[in-house]
């Protein structure tokens, strides 16, 4: 880690930025200083105001008050074009690429016309060689991995010679190896004097990469620090403003009976551009958490759908719960198998919960049959409300009451309610997909603890997640899903992040691409 480069004039300085949306102040008097060549982390929980601030810097949004200084001069950006002219480049979390076009065509679409003159492909090759971003201008985008696609976005930015590069959660779609490659590039840029504003909530990454960090909470800057001198835990506490309790679990391997088993399961995806499941095998025993790692879009959604019963499979016996074949049973019957099945889908609003419906109605949604909230087809409102109140109390969901709609809750609180709704039913088998996606750190900790506790009490928990940190924290065993195939599960203490990363990238233990499409 190099010391922060110092010159007198900061490249970017924000003074007292305030931006309010109806009902919420997204940024309140935010000030920030980025020096030339500095890698500056912008750290905060979801909803802390990072995106709003960045949109202002990139000219997408205007602030209500406050000013922006560029190389010491006050500037007002009308639009992203003005920002780009100034030297601001941004790599968004979601790529804007056309699959059916080549790398070069995609790049030429996203930059100002004068840059496309002359031999673009030569310049792409130059830049990619210079910064260690291997990229073939003639390849079609649909043949590239996610990491390679991100390189296109980075190269597109670099072609415009930025002096400030903004990166929004760049590593959320990358394998650990790809992250390391990206960091090399970013350090290289920093050495050349390019400032980098790096947005993330992955604290370990920030510790290894960033020179300084600005921490935001609820729209305000609450701390500035040097990540090198902090621990991930201390930064997380600054982010949340409270002391963090990490989940506790026993590491012992369980020899409990198999409660959930998937055997030689093949299932075609029901989605466009989906991933088919190919001879998937897995066993989850009573008393354990089985973690399934994988990069987004490798069959997690499809696996979840066949497990919830939203998609039925051809052979009933390819999925068994407590010995009962359930592959042909719909969600209602499936939830009632054994001592019950708890299911938490990825999307909170619109899948796990109905946004405009009250909390008690959303509790009723999945608990109607098992908690006997229904009598001859009639909804038992009293019992349903009592059930929802129990969930709210046990899982400390912050809400004025169970008659309020689901979309009035923050993401973390709603997720606690949805997870709680399933766990209060005391199921024997629990399947969760991305249980803490977009959830604040405090709620994340309590959700993870709840899952571990359920396993300790004898339930079989299957956790599918893209968050490796999470999986290592809660799982007894870990498997990897890649292109619809599942690797053998390994005891969590016997595998390293690197090994999991290779499996996520589809590289087998022998170092070769395990399967080519």
């Amino acid at each position: 880690m190099s010391e922060t480069p110092q010159t007198l004039t900061p490249r970017l300085e924000l003074l007292g930025i305030t931006k309010a949306y109806p009902g919420v102040v997204a940024n309140n008097n935010v000030s920030l200083k980025v020096m030339p060549g500095e890698i500056h982390a912008l750290l905060g929980e979801n909803g802390a105001g990072k995106s709003t601030l960045v949109k202002f810097i990139y000219g997408v949004q205007k602030a209500d008050s406050g000013s922006m200084l560029w190389e010491g001069e006050e500037v007002r950006l009308a639009n992203p074009n003005a920002a780009r002219k100034l030297g601001v480049g941004m790599v968004f979390q979601h790529f804007s690429l056309f699959d059916a076009m080549t790398v070069e065509e995609n790049i030429s679409l996203g930059i100002s016309p004068e840059l496309t003159k002359g031999n673009l492909s030569v310049r792409i090759r130059e830049i990619s060689a210079q910064y260690g971003l291997p990229l073939d201008p003639d390849r079609y985008v649909h043949t590239l991995s996610v990491g390679e696609r991100q390189r296109i976005e980075v190269v597109r930015c670099l072609l415009q010679d930025p002096t400030l590069l903004i990166m929004d959660e760049p590593t959320s779609v990358l394998t650990p190896q790809e992250v390391e490659e990206l960091f090399k590039t970013l350090r290289r840029l920093s050495e050349e004097g390019v400032s980098i504003l790096y947005i993330s909530h992955r604290l370990e990454e920030i510790k290894t990469l960033c020179h300084t960090a600005t921490i935001m909470r609820m729209g305000e800057v609450v701390a500035e620090c040097t990540p090198e001198n902090e621990t991930a835990r201390s930064m997380a506490e600054m982010m949340m403003g409270e002391n963090l309790v990490s989940p506790e679990r026993t590491d012992r391997q369980t020899d409990g009976s198999v409660r959930l088993e998937v055997k030689d399961l093949d299932a075609a995806s029901t989605h466009q551009h989906g991933t088919d499941l190919r001879s998937v095998n897995l066993q989850v025993r009573a008393g354990e958490v089985l973690g399934v790692a994988g990069i987004a879009g490798n069959g997690q959604r499809e696996l979840m759908e066949v497990l919830t019963g939203e998609v039925l499979v051809d052979r009933a016996e390819s999925i068994t719960i407590d010995g009962t074949p359930v592959g042909q049973l719909g969600p209602v019957q499936r939830r009632g198998i054994g001592v019950g099945v708890g299911l938490v889908p990825e999307e909170r609003l619109g899948h796990g919960a109905v946004p405009d419906m009250s909390l008690w109605e959303n509790g009723f949604l999945s608990a109607a049959t098992r908690m006997e909230l229904i009598n001859n087809g009639f909804i038992q409102v009293g019992a349903s409300s009592a059930f929802a109140e129990e969930v709210v109390e046990q899982f400390r969901v912050k809400t004025p009451g169970v008659t309020h709609p689901a979309n009035s809750l923050s993401g973390g609180n709603l997720q606690k309610f949805i997870v709680g709704r399933e766990l209060v039913q005391k199921p024997g088998v629990i399947v969760v997909l991305q249980p803490t996606w977009g959830v604040d750190a405090g709620s994340t900790a309590s959700i993870r603890q709840a899952l571990i506790d359920m396993a300790t009490e004898g339930a079989a928990v299957l956790a599918i997640s893209q968050d490796l940190e999470e999986l290592f924290e809660i799982s007894n065993r870990i498997a990897v899903i890649c292109e619809g195939r599942m690797s053998d599960a390994q005891p969590a203490e016997n595998v390293t992040v690197e090994e999991i990363g290779l499996l996520m990238a589809g590289v087998g233990p022998d170092g070769e691409k395990a399967h080519a499409d």
């Binding site: 719909g330 609003l349 899948h351 109605e361 949604l365 999945s366």
Partner: protein, 361 residues
């Protein structure tokens, strides 16, 4: 001065109920301007349109007679609309239901059984359901668009009616008029108030309102309808079957329309004529939305829309205004309602934006 729409942080619950009232007021104001332009005294015209028709007992009874089919069909449609099942063909289902019930009346002509009227009502419901079952089957089987199929079947239904009254069911002693025989007394719905046309059909409509209310607020079917309509993925997650709800909502709305048809026939008209309904099946779409897709709201909206029919008649008779005034009223009402609904999620702000930073190139 700038007028802007600003998104509300949360949808306004009050505006859900105030917006129909705003729509009614705007409709009346616009109508007054329209009357003024036509050279008629606006105040007088409004009085003729809205007050005069219900100033007598007979007028009130007529209002309820006209409201009966609108409320019945409106309740049925509102269930489907909440599940995003768009049955636009209630008019056709009304006609087929009326023919099923009316056919029974003709078949048992002259037999005085107390069972005849209930049997006719049941046939009406079945007829309407059968006609709605066609789009339901096509949608669940071939994924056809029920808006198109149900609408097109309306015209088929009207042609069936036309064929029957011009052919097989024509009154043999009717001097070749395209009408059936007058129903025998035993095929007529009991009248509630003497000297008026108000019949037990109105009570049936009120009963259906209560049933619809209970179904939507307390029954699992209503819950499923709402979930599928608001968040289909959450419905799938909970295990609700969308196809089953398509069938249920189309059968209920078709049954309600069929019931409305047979009530209109045996309660208000008393024979099968070439035009059974002045477009109740289509007007009921407006009724359903004006009533916020809520059975009780539909009840009030049905009464209001019935009044526009009566008002149109009375304006035609006493002020020589064209009958199209009714259609204009109904159209304006729906137009203003949809416009006012913006206020549920947005509020109007006067003055410049609060954002101070100016755009600078």
């Amino acid at each position: 001065m700038l007028i802007r729409l600003e998104q509300r942080p949360e949808a306004s619950n009050i505006m859900v109920y105030v917006s129909p009232l705003i729509a009614v007021v705007l409709t009346i104001l616009t109508a007054m301007i329209m009357f003024g332009a036509l050279g008629v005294d606006p105040a007088k015209a409004i009085e003729t349109f809205f007050i005069e028709p219900v100033s007598t007992l007979d007028g009130v009874a007529e209002l309820l007679v006209k409201a009966t089919p609108l409320v019945l069909i409106g309740v049925g449609l509102s269930l489907g609309f909440q599940a995003n099942v768009w049955n636009i063909g209630a008019e056709g289902q009304l006609v087929i239901g009326a023919l099923a019930g009316g056919g029974l009346a003709l078949a048992f002509y002259g037999q005085s059984s107390t069972l005849l009227v209930p049997a006719m009502l049941v046939c009406g419901v079945i007829g309407g359901m059968a006609w709605a079952a066609i789009p339901a089957w096509m949608k669940t089987r071939f994924n056809t668009n029920e808006i198109l199929t149900s609408l097109m079947l309306t015209y088929v239904g009207l042609l069936v009616l036309s064929y029957l009254v011009h052919g097989p069911w024509k009154d043999p002693e009717g001097q070749n008029f395209p009408e059936s025989r007058l129903f025998h007394d035993s095929a007529l719905l009991p009248i509630l108030i003497d000297e008026t046309r108000l019949n037990v059909g109105w009570l049936l409509a009120l009963f259906v309102v209560v049933l619809g209310w209970i179904l939507m607020s307390r029954h699992i079917i209503g819950f499923q309808i709402k979930v599928i309509g608001m968040a289909p993925m959450a419905g799938a997650f909970a295990g609700f079957k969308e196809n089953r709800l398509i069938w249920i909502t189309l059968l209920i709305s078709g049954g309600c329309a069929g019931l409305a048809g047979v009530i209109e026939l045996s309660g208000a008209i008393g024979q099968i004529v070439p035009s059974i309904s002045p477009g109740y099946g289509f007007t009921a779409i407006i009724v359903a939305f004006l009533g916020r897709l809520h059975p009780v709201g539909v009840l009030f909206a049905g009464l209001l829309m019935a009044l526009t029919y009566l008002g149109g008649d009375s304006a035609q008779i006493t002020m020589n205004l064209p009958n199209a005034v009714t259609g204009v009223f109904q159209g304006m009402l729906l137009f203003f309602l949809l416009a006012s609904d913006v206020l549920i999620r947005y509020r109007v702000r006067f003055g410049p934006p609060r954002v101070k930073a100016e755009a600078a190139e």
